[in-house]
Symmetry: C2
Subunit: 106 residues, 2 copies
DNA sequence: ATTATCAGTAAGTGATAGCTTACGGTTAGC
DNA sequence: GCTAACCGTAAGCTATCACTTACTGATAAT
């Protein structure tokens, strides 16, 4: 019920979304990501930790390289939340249209 | 391409998500929202402006009352973004599984 | 017309988040 | 063993954001 906070906070930052966009094509190492981003490598590491904690990326280590890739599972939870909100909003709208003229409000 | 920033930023704040949850049942006035939230009424007004700018809520004015309700359209854009990310991630994963052993990286 | 209610705006404050530089740790190669 | 490359962590700084109080505007009612 409170995990959306982590997911949404993770997706809100522009740099992190840029990182996810870079990972659309497949996994990348930390250095590779930093090379294509306007921030320092430590900053990328911090963002990756956040994304990993949020369940949005997965890690694979090979030697000294740490490869990251998008984890589709994390996005599922977010879609479920938005779907629920969407459904409820439509239901509320239908209910209101249906009761045009009635005045039961406080 | 940059509208997700507004949408995600709007959804990230816990107070704004609480407001949206209150609006799940249907439209509410500003004062009604403030009464059920742990923040002041001006704070609610500020949040509503943000949500409205993001396209997540719609407004209806009746006398001095300003009623707000969830606008399903805004959520659609966000779902589309997540879907694209999801699809690409799955495709990238499939591509990588398929090329086990090959080494075409930079 | 005056008063009261409802709501948006402005200004100021405190906390949070992202960035940087500096450092420590681990693996690969000579 | 020593050096180099790759990466994570720590500390500090700055900017942004959410909140408050005070004020102004607009509608309703007496």
């Amino acid at each position: 019920m409170n995990d959306q906070s982590t997911l949404l906070a993770a997706l809100t930052d522009p740099t992190r979304r840029a990182m996810l966009d870079l990972l659309r094509g497949g996994e990348r190492s930390v250095g590779e990501l930093a090379r294509d981003l306007p921030v320092s490598r430590p900053a990328v590491s911090q963002h990756l930790r956040l994304l990993k904690d949020a369940g949005l990326v997965a890690e694979r280590r090979a030697g000294t390289r740490h490869f990251f890739r998008i984890d589709p599972a994390g996005l599922g939870a977010l879609r479920a939340y938005l779907d629920g909100l969407w459904t409820d909003a439509l239901a509320a709208f239908a209910r209101q249209v249906e009761s045009r003229g009635e005045d039961g409000h406080d």
